[in-house]
């Protein structure tokens, strides 16, 4: 008859475990990171973690933030919205972090951004590109220092406008990121090149993220009338796509190809010489794109420590930490509200170049890079040559267009 009584004891036990682990020391400045650390996109989280660790070590060696040591807490959001919200609540409520950074997946970003209002804690997004979080659903606590879809596709359409291709199609992931990339591409390119033709929705190739065999999509594109292809696949999907498409003669020069996230070192390291030459690829950061001392120092330090070149995700995490340090220096405190105020309008020189966070929508105006894949005998991976750099102000849509009503 007492069997439910035991359940009670168990419940109490769990309660104590949870309560007991909630004690936090408040000495160091705490930064919480949420990235994908498991599953098919885990390699992005790995690079980000390395970037963050590098930045934090640099800051700590230089005396910390406002004289306080910086401590990093990494959480795996698994690319799932519910997990993302859980880990961010954990970081804020339990670990008492002063700021949260990261987020790879757009789905997680969409879920997490509104919650930051309740947590009253700043969030700097370093990867997820969904426009809404600095657009229609923007809020006081959410910032982004990485390029969003808008900006990236603005560059893609500029390059596309100079190409011979007339009829365009897309190969993208069958979720919001892929669809939005294609929608913006059509919008921007038809402005720059009114005679551009786009294949209807039934004829473009959106593949579910679990796809490993892309042959059907490659065939579909090759048999369409399109002579230009916007590829917005990323991660393992992009690797599989490129390898299989190459074998099927996709890169035979008969069509113009733009890969919006093709210059991710995560992908280039996996593909190595299997990445075809002469393809236009985009990225949020390219380690050879500029010669500033700050970039050189970052690339050298990163390579020395991790034996690989930094990816854009590594740079995103590195840059976010540096940005936060700058905001803290400006505010002379790590008080969350003051940090938010300091981040608004902040300009800082990062390896990627100078970025400015717009106070109106919290989107960073940052330079973008596209380039053509090329061989360099000195390098283990494909490099970009020529590189085409875009000034942040040219590719960032005006605040009025974003739908954000912060100010």
């Amino acid at each position: 008859m007492k069997k439910m009584g035991f359940a009670f004891l168990l419940a109490i036990g769990f309660g104590l475990v949870i309560a007991g682990s909630g004690i936090a020391a408040d000495k160091p400045v705490k930064i919480g990171f949420a990235y994908i650390m498991s599953g098919p996109f885990a390699t992005y989280g790995q690079f980000a973690k390395q970037g963050a660790e590098l930045a934090i070590d640099e800051i700590n060696q230089a005396g910390g933030i406002n004289g306080r040591k910086v401590e990093a807490l990494f959480e795996d959001d698994a690319g799932k919205p519910d997990v993302g919200i859980r880990v961010i609540r954990k970081l804020v409520y339990e670990n008492g972090v002063d700021i949260v950074m990261g987020i790879d997946s757009s789905g997680v970003a969409s879920a997490v951004a509104p919650v930051m209002k309740e947590l009253k804690t700043p969030l700097i997004i370093t990867h997820a590109a969904v426009p809404d979080v600095t657009g229609t659903s923007c809020n006081r606590y959410t910032f982004r220092i990485s390029l969003n879809i808008n900006q990236n596709i603005a560059m893609a359409s500029t390059i596309a406008a100079d190409m011979k291709a007339k009829t365009w199609t897309t190969a993208g992931p069958d979720y919001s990121f892929g669809h939005q990339s294609w929608e913006y591409f059509q919008k921007y390119l038809s402005k720059k090149k009114p005679d551009a033709v786009f294949l209807p929705a039934a004829d473009v190739a959106f593949s579910p993220s679990a796809t490993t065999d892309f042959s059907a999509y490659v065939t579909k594109i090759m048999n369409s009338k399109a002579d230009g292809v916007l590829v917005s696949l990323w991660g393992g999907n992009l690797i599989d796509f490129v390898r299989q498409a190459a074998d099927m003669g996709f890169f035979d020069g008969k069509r113009e190809i733009l890969m919006t996230l093709g210059a991710a070192t995560e992908v280039l390291y996996a593909l190595q010489e299997k990445m075809p030459e002469g393809i236009w690829v985009g990225t949020r950061y390219w380690f050879q794109a500029n010669d500033t001392p700050i970039n050189k120092a970052f690339v050298d330090a990163y390579f020395k420590r991790f034996k690989v070149y930094p990816s854009y995700n590594a740079h995103g995490a590195y840059g976010a930490v540096k940005t936060y340090a700058a905001a803290a220096a400006k505010a002379k405190t790590v008080d969350k509200e003051k940090i938010v105020d300091a981040l608004e309008g902040l300009s800082i020189e990062l390896p990627v170049g100078k970025i400015t966070i717009r106070p109106e929508d919290h989107q960073a105006v940052t330079d973008g890079v596209w380039g053509k894949t090329a061989v360099d005998a000195q390098m283990p991976i494909r490099i970009l040559k020529p590189i085409r750099a875009f000034a942040g102000k040219d590719i960032t849509p005006p605040v009025e267009e974003t739908g954000c009503k912060l100010k």
């Binding site: 009670f8 309560a19 682990s21 909630g22 919200i85 879920a111």
Partner: protein
């Protein structure tokens, strides 16, 4: 299957009291974890009405969980912004869905039932994922405001973790109470009879398909209710909630806690989250530990953790069942 109505009242009341007192001794984050545990408990309990009591392993239960979430959020966005209207929409909507899908699924048994429900669950997932104009596609539906509650003339904001916790506690407790009544009712006896021997049940004149269907609808409705709470909790309804791997979570929690004890699934939910919480504090490789722990639990606790503990306890006291 064991339940004895009277003997369990006292411990259940004690648990309830502890849960009511929880906000006074738990940290905010502890309370948030407990909120999630309660929500998932309701989900797992609804699943166990089918699994433990009816003998039907549904791998599509997340379909109704997620559908409830979308119905609730869509009601908040497009319909009346009332919390109760949203919850009602979740319950009714997922019950109707469960009626249609259940009507097809209850024809099958065992592993075939499991796989068919998985199939239908994934069809619902595809709808949530691909019908972008309505469901927001893969990003989900997050642009809604959680309405406040008006209690005795006081507006209570559900944004506060404590008030939200009490809402979830209230609804989860009511849901559990309902399920408790169901499994102890004449219909509940028929369910257990169906689990034991569906052939015999149909040869005493019951329409086994109708009995199963009714259980399926009840379970679907309560899963929808839990899903609505989960969407409110996370401030978003997302397609992941309908994916088969989410159904797998309910299966996992139920078997972890023990499908043969009424509160087993709830205990399983608690164990799952506490384990995750403890392990991720030390490593990001938490799946490897979860996997190993699962293997050990399955081998060492054949009736689930709660089930096996209670078994040992009662056996110690009363000797082996006569």
């Amino acid at each position: 299957m064991r339940f004895r109505a009277r003997g369990d009242v006292v411990p259940v009341l004690l648990i309830l009291l502890a849960l009511i007192a929880a906000p006074f001794f738990l940290s905010i984050y502890g309370l948030i974890v407990l909120t999630e545990i309660l929500t998932m408990s309701l989900f797992a309990l609804s699943f166990n009405l089918l699994f433990g009591y009816t003998g039907l392993l549904s791998f599509g239960q997340a379909g109704f969980f997620g559908a409830g979430a979308y119905f609730a959020v869509l009601t908040l966005i497009h319909g009346p912004g009332s919390l109760w209207a949203a919850l009602a929409a979740a319950v009714i909507g997922s019950a109707v869905l469960a009626a249609v899908i259940g009507w097809l699924c209850v024809r099958l048994d065992e592993i075939y039932f499991a796989i068919l429900t998985l199939g239908f669950g994934m069809m619902l997932f595809t709808i949530a994922h691909n019908w972008r104009s309505v469901t927001g596609g893969s990003d989900g539906l997050g642009n809604f405001t959680l309405p406040g509650l008006n209690l005795f003339g006081h507006d209570i904001s559900l944004f506060h973790p404590v008030s939200f916790y009490f809402l979830v506690l209230l609804i989860a407790a009511l849901g559990a109470l309902l399920l408790w009544r169901v499994v102890g009712s004449p219909f509940g006896l028929l369910l257990r009879g169906t689990r034991e021997n569906s052939l015999r049940v149909s040869f005493v004149g019951a329409n086994v398909r109708a009995v199963r269907l009714f259980a399926f609808i009840l379970a679907g409705a309560l899963a929808g209710l839990a899903g609505a709470l989960f969407a409110f909790f996370n401030r978003i309804a997302s397609p992941e909630m309908l994916h088969w791997s989410f159904s797998g979570k309910a299966v996992l929690m139920t078997i972890l806690g023990g499908s043969g004890v009424f509160l087993g699934p709830a205990a399983g939910a608690a164990i799952f989250f506490v384990l995750e919480h403890v392990i991720t504090a030390y490593t990001t490789n938490w799946m490897i530990f979860l996997g190993a722990i699962l293997v050990v639990l399955v081998l060492a606790f054949p009736g689930g953790v709660l089930g096996s503990l209670l078994d040992r306890l009662t056996r110690g006291r009363k000797g082996p069942p006569a």
